[in-house]
Subunit: 396 residues, 2 copies
Amino acid sequence: MNNFIYSIPTTAYFGKGQIKVLGETIKAHGGSRVLLAYGGGSIKKNGIYDAIIEQFEKAGLAHVELSGIQPNPRIESAEEGIELYCKNNCDFILAVAGGSTLDACKAIAAGVKYDGPVGDLFVGESGLSDIRAAAPLATILTMAGTGSEMDMGAVITVGEDHKKKVLMHPLVNPRFSILDPEYTYTVLEYHSMAGVADILCHLMEQYFTPDVGAKVQDRMNEGVMKVVLEDAPKILANPKDYDARANIMWASSMALAGFQFLIGKPTSPFPLHGMGHELSSRYDMTQGVTLALLTPAWMRHTMSAAPEHLPLFARFARNVLDIHEEDDAKAAEEAVRQLQEFYSAIKMPANLREAGVKEEDLEIIAGKAVENGNLGILSPIGKVEVLQILRTAFIG
Amino acid sequence: MNNFIYSIPTTAYFGKGQIKVLGETIKAHGGSRVLLAYGGGSIKKNGIYDAIIEQFEKAGLAHVELSGIQPNPRIESAEEGIELYCKNNCDFILAVAGGSTLDACKAIAAGVKYDGPVGDLFVGESGLSDIRAAAPLATILTMAGTGSEMDMGAVITVGEDHKKKVLMHPLVNPRFSILDPEYTYTVLEYHSMAGVADILCHLMEQYFTPDVGAKVQDRMNEGVMKVVLEDAPKILANPKDYDARANIMWASSMALAGFQFLIGKPTSPFPLHGMGHELSSRYDMTQGVTLALLTPAWMRHTMSAAPEHLPLFARFARNVLDIHEEDDAKAAEEAVRQLQEFYSAIKMPANLREAGVKEEDLEIIAGKAVENGNLGILSPIGKVEVLQILRTAFIG
């Protein structure tokens, strides 16, 4: 096992009705004037907005609003938020959000304490940003998937070519997150399932790293993956299945906070996210969908390019999917087949073509993906390899 | 799943050589005059003491020493520490310890900030103590088992009848813990394996609670139990197996911090610890040994007294021990048999008689055990039931 530091800066208030702690907890963190950020306004229909305002009033908190933050948020949204925060002398940020609004708010939190353009604080796909201070931030999660509610990362789209850049620092970890599974009841099926694909990918990208004997982390990861595979179809069958929603929501948080990320294993460059970002930027595809499409292709590529890691894929097959097959190669191949079946069962597109990707773009996408930095973890991945993975994913 | 708050106040510095952060990290937590507490003095033979003093000197920290804290620590040790801390104007406590010294130090941390006898702060087997402030505390773990390095609990022996009392509050969570698996290389085989039994019991006592669909927690728990069962024998075979020592050490911490304790499941009254305390008080037995002896008897009792929970034991059999048996009762019974085999393989005594317990004491022990508060979680446990469990464990 590698050395590591285990530090969990975010407190989660998990379960139905936990919004009751909102006002007092913001005050306990020094907030009095809140920048309230949200996306498309669905929170005004499902009662969450009213519950927040009630909490603000009870606790005597003032607020200003930043609404309309789009999926795959752009840096301009963060800049707008920074201006609003400063002009109104805010001292706290509340993101009511899936991953996108929350990511924009992390940029706002860092940007309001930085003398210069917030874009300076973004790096490529890995490494810590040079952040010295950040405004306190909390979140009320409205969609499970990105894990942003418990982690230190934010992904923002920058520039005319829609480049995705990463900001990463423990100072932008939310101070607290309110995780109420009932708030996800009304998330569209497609987005719920894209979130599931995202969670599964976070777990897999940290699982498929060179084996260093970190068995506690790997076994815990296997356990969470099993739950995701078992409970996602239950949400399809009944969107108001509380325990299934709760398990998927907690899996989302656990995948990036608590026992996996940077804990005693080689640091994953998140190759699937690296490639997926280029697809979601170019076609405005939901991130989770890109991951569902790329994962089987990446697995097949890696199993072939780095057969020395076949035991890792076979272990996944046996421990997560209960595949009883002694031959490693056959077990691994069967695992990929079953994963594809799972993605199909949760209604992901069958391949990149079906998802609207154009074959003639693949080479450009491959070129841009490798500009984001290293994508290799079990085997080297350059432009040639990305293109091969994209071509496999194109036909599915 | 039940509602919960997830908050991890302790930072872990895990891995070989992590002592290098000691001096600066104490300073970062405001320490300048350290009460250095340890047990029997083995740290002077294995180099840990010298490494600590070097860190103190580099960082310019003064210190006073409290040595000789015994296993199953008594409240008098804590009182001595409180006096020493106050007389020397200390502002930080460092416990170099397995669980016992650390537990005494948690009592010291709370006691130095309390106007009255520290005994006031101890409660029975559950519930938070009335603690308003505590001195900052850190630990360097020298034996894996109790999980005290990452949790908010301390167990102290009080009075002439050796009553074990519990102090519990997040304010006594260590600010940080240094977990270097190499420090456990020289722990005696018997104590290493008693530690393993303790870890396994912490996991089981949180696993065997009424099923509320908290699958993420349960699956993670199963994963950690699997690792404990797999890696403990590796330590027996080679006490310097780094990865096995690392996995057992991290399992110890994870069992009580991070994903299980008070997280979304019915709160366990830790019935096995409740009964075990009476045995370890009366005979000065190592805690883990009492747990290894009581667990199979408790399982058999509960399976028979509360057959409605058989599916839980059968799930344990299938998911942790890979027992392929469709009948729940048979699967559960086979699990108990395999557990007993495991305890035997890690050289625990076969039964209470072999461990030196006197048959004529069983009734008194049962009476004292139930004085500690509720012990029932899957089925009610009063004096009659404890006596039945003790009698089963007596013959093994």
